[in-house]
């Protein structure tokens, strides 16, 4: 099983030729919009799932019921039970339209879990939370333990982003204790993992850090870790490519790498 993040850059593609078994879209981009392209994907027998960017689980603004109603309506329209967002803040009391770190502390586990439960109560189903890339953060818990604790306390699913684990490890392991991919996975309850994300990243000399750009082929160690988790536990993998989206052949080659070993 290999999925693909469907992006507007693909609007002109013959999607029947894209070798993906399922798709994922950003709900914020499809609320109040023409969803014909998504219904065509569903009619081809391939589900479309939702992965949001603005829920602001780590922020302090009230989570807006009107937005959740929009999401709920979209889930019904697409016939999906999969809605996830990031274990991150999208701002403080206001939106900043990016993803910011939540301090890895016990107090934040409790506060953020309450916000997730609120979302789940309104939607009437579990949501997924994705471990995010972070470029600097505070707190005394290892990230994997923070993720596991939030998932347990809020009883939600985990969307495990293998690329984000790899980027965080590369950026931070020389200066602080962070887990590599294998160690990170070992600390998370696998039964909560709904599926995995893989993507590419690149080094940015301006900051001396690896940036989670989703603009490159997936790194070998990320592919290997995802395939192993798939082989052992049957967890699906989804490819994200959001910037400098290449042609369909390149995407299909990337998908083939993920599918070949998982058939």
């Amino acid at each position: 099983m290999a999925g693909l993040g469907y992006r507007r850059d693909m609007a002109d593609w013959d999607m029947s030729a894209v070798r993906a078994d399922f798709f994922e879209v950003v709900p914020e981009n499809w609320v109040h919009r023409n969803r014909d392209p998504l219904h065509r994907l569903i009619q081809s027998g391939r589900p479309v799932q939702l992965h949001g960017v603005s829920l602001n689980l780590g922020g302090t603004s009230d989570i807006q019921p009107t937005f959740l109603r929009d999401v709920c309506e979209l889930m019904d329209d697409l016939g999906t039970k999969h809605y996830s967002d990031h274990l991150a803040a999208s701002g403080d009391a206001h939106q900043l339209h990016d993803l910011f770190p939540i301090p890895f502390t016990v107090a934040e586990v409790a506060r953020v879990s309450d916000r997730i439960r609120y979302v789940q109560d309104i939607l009437g189903c579990r949501i997924g939370i994705e471990n995010s890339t972070w470029y600097t953060n505070i707190g005394d818990m290892p990230e994997a333990d923070f993720l596991a604790a939030v998932a347990e306390r809020s009883d939600c699913n985990i969307l495990l982003d293998i690329n984000n684990i790899a980027v965080n490890y590369k950026n931070h392991h020389k200066h602080q204790h962070v887990h590599d991919i294998a160690e990170f996975i070992a600390r998370v309850d696998r039964s909560r993992i709904s599926y995995m994300h893989v993507a590419g990243h690149e080094f940015d000399e301006r900051f001396g850090m690896y940036i989670d750009t989703h603009s490159q082929p997936v790194a070998a160690d990320t592919v290997q870790a995802a395939l192993q988790l798939h082989r052992l536990h049957g967890i699906p993998i989804l490819l994200e490519w959001d910037n400098d989206v290449p042609d369909m052949d390149t995407i299909n080659q990337e998908l083939a790498c993920l599918r070949f070993m998982t058939m």
């Binding site: 914020e28 603005s54 939106q95 339209h97």
Partner: protein
């Protein structure tokens, strides 16, 4: 957390305690880039007429004053008009 978001918005250049300077610069840059790209997509002529330096100053001020509330990134185009009206009042 206000020190963190004050830095991200460019309201302060003080690195909040416990965070790293390169990491904070990444976040400030990403927010600037997001605002710049969305505004440029809707008002490309503004950037062309202002030139790069004046554009950067304008978007930095837009971010510094930001109190955006919508979940929808595309709504930044409306926030930008509100910002311009406020600035020119």
């Amino acid at each position: 957390m206000s020190a963190f978001y004050d830095y991200v918005r460019g309201r302060s250049d003080v690195i909040p305690q416990g965070y790293t300077e390169p990491g904070m610069r990444v976040y400030r840059y990403l927010v600037y880039l997001g605002a710049s790209q969305m505004v440029e997509a809707h008002y490309p002529k503004v950037k062309a007429e202002l030139g790069d330096e004046a554009w950067r100053t304008l978007i930095e001020e837009f971010v510094r004053q930001s109190q955006w509330t919508s979940n929808y990134y595309g709504d930044l185009k409306d926030e930008f008009l509100t910002f311009l009206a406020r600035e020119s009042a």
